[in-house]
Assembly symmetry: C2
Homo-oligomer: 184 residues x 2
Amino acid sequence: MVKKSFSDMACSLAQSMDVIGEWWSMLIVRDFFVGGGRRRFEQLRDSLGISRNILTERLRTLTDAGVIEKVPLQEGGRRYAYQLTDKGRDLLPVIVSIIQWWERWEQEPGEGYMNMRDRQRGEEIGQVSVPNSRGEPLQYGDLFMTLRTPRGEMKIREWPLDFRSLSEDDLLDLPGDSLNAKAS
Amino acid sequence: MVKKSFSDMACSLAQSMDVIGEWWSMLIVRDFFVGGGRRRFEQLRDSLGISRNILTERLRTLTDAGVIEKVPLQEGGRRYAYQLTDKGRDLLPVIVSIIQWWERWEQEPGEGYMNMRDRQRGEEIGQVSVPNSRGEPLQYGDLFMTLRTPRGEMKIREWPLDFRSLSEDDLLDLPGDSLNAKAS
DNA sequence: GGCAATAAGTTCTAAAAAGCAACTAATCCC
DNA sequence: GGGATTAGTTGCTTTTTAGAACTTATTGCC
């Protein structure tokens, strides 16, 4: 009766949930963004109203995952701050897409919502979307999903999906058109 | 000692966490995407390995929030399926941005990861990013944050941020350059 | 330098949520 | 009609969260 970990699922989303999917994690990350990328323990506590023990645990998880790092405040000192790493700052599209999703569908826009603007030109940022290879926004219906395996890429033809039922015949005959420069 | 709800925080992210931020919620939504937008109770259970009572509760939360809806499988029948609503399908950028974030930073790419391609042209989708008003991708450092209030929009000048300390002097003198067509 | 205040936790206890298995009621298939 | 399937519900145990008190080291201040 252990709380289930998602880390054994062959799915990037499941993997990431063990890091950023726990209660408070996302809000802690948001607070780092609001705080210019750097926050101290009591700052986070005051700002979020989170319990100390939970905050301790979350900061450890995020640190272990390389989302934040602990840095000494002054040279050689023993007082620390936590700050976003490059990996942590790279969560920007995740945070912004969630905020924008909520605001697109929220019935009564309350008070004091956060907004973001382009530093160079002062204009509001645009909506985060899933782009095709030309950068044009795609909707869910415009996509199909595939499964990348060491043997190649397979089109998922049938629903419900059973990964184990996929055969060699499902292998896609695709040109090397990968946009994502990844050694797969 | 009630579990804290984020719904009283004046932050869109906090609000949304009550809906999609709980353990399993995101993976359930992902499974709907994988399942072509529609899934049945036992399908979700088998696919995810989630407990029945937890699944029941999450489906209710997601239904109440309008992310999914319960529909009869045949006309007048009493057997149902759950399917994504427009609001649910609009979570696509959230799901994809999390998956892409994980894959950008994951050290050892495992087996069987999911991928998405443009249905029209077969090409891989691009990376989800936060765009400026011209559609050019922005990084965290290219942004500044503001607070939208009923009285106007305020620039957040100081870190750490204390919402309550913001004065009328902080009001931005901005032209009506909002990209997001929202009646605020 | 001494002392109160602060910072960053740790430890304790209680409540809530998650996990598991067994049970149930309705429906479908033959 | 009867067995299997579906979509839960109920009961119990473990884990997580919440809140508060306690701890240790540092820091500002006189």
